[in-house]
Symmetry: C2
Subunit: 183 residues, 2 copies
């Protein structure tokens, strides 16, 4: 556009050679052009500032997206085994029940223990751990399915018996331990 403006100035000078005579008129025309240029300059500068702000916002948003995406990926990786681990837990329960059957031969018992061990190792390697039940009752980790009166052997709010083991993946609960609590 500025080239066009220069062109306009030249053209006006060529097309209106009479203006050359009246110095004041030319001056006024030039002043008009200066005013116009200043207004166009203001506009161009406002445009530049607007695009710069848009760029800065887009850049900030991009960094946010990348940060969120990284957090999400780390979380997905950390808890990736959650679904399969949850579904494998009933197999562990079945193994424990099978091992509790009376009169197993040594071969069968060793076989069952081998399966149990390999399954527990697989889960452990993926971050699954058994929930401790040797301390006081914790409603975040234990589910009380029955209560018994406090006696000499069992303090109040302590676990008396475990019906079904509980498990967690890292610090996330997979399922609570089903317990009997002294009250």
């Amino acid at each position: 556009m500025s080239e066009e403006n220069k062109e306009e100035i030249k053209n006006e000078a060529v097309e209106n050679p009479t203006e050359e005579v009246t110095e004041e008129l030319t001056e006024e025309a030039l002043e008009d052009i200066v005013e116009e240029e200043i207004s166009e300059l203001d506009q161009a500068r406002a445009d530049a500032e607007e695009w710069e702000n848009k760029f800065l916002r887009a850049n900030a948003e991009m960094q946010n997206i990348q940060r969120r995406s990284n957090e999400e990926r780390l979380n997905l990786v950390k808890y990736r085994s959650q679904d399969l681990a949850k579904k494998v837990l009933p197999s562990l329960d079945n193994l424990e029940r099978a091992l509790a059957v009376e009169g197993l031969t040594d071969d069968v018992k060793r076989g069952l223990e081998m399966v149990q061990e390999s399954l527990l190792n697989a889960l452990k390697e993926e971050g699954v751990t058994e929930i401790a039940t040797d301390g006081p009752f914790d409603p975040q980790l234990h589910q009380a399915v029955q209560t018994v009166p406090v006696d000499e052997e069992h303090e109040a709010d302590h676990i008396v018996q475990v019906f079904q083991k509980g498990y967690q993946l890292h610090e996330r609960l997979l399922r609570p331990a089903m317990v009997v609590v002294a009250q």
Copy 2:
């Protein structure tokens, strides 16, 4: 800046009142100002264009990041069970070996089959399937650990016996089936 320029023009007019006398000098000064304004306008427009381009590039990059991040997330979710599934497979092998032991009582056998079934179901729900071994040998899915001569019962390149089952997660191989092939 444009306000400053206007100010400069006014100041020059006030500080140099003698210029008012010589019309040609004022005209030249105005022409200089026009030239200067045009050059500043060019600069401002170039700046605006540069920031616009930077914004457009940042915007395009942002969309790329989002697309890649979505693809990555879908992939992470689809194959999330890969590691645990791989580690659970030896338990299935142990169960099969335990079930092959002679003289199991019905109770023990039922117990073992229950564990096996629940484990296979857990894996199946997560997208794990057993690799078929009833067709021709496929080096993408089967590993030949032994070969036997072709006979009336077994065609060339067909699987005669399975030493260890293979598994895949969706279309991704977890481990190949270990097989004996007729050749």
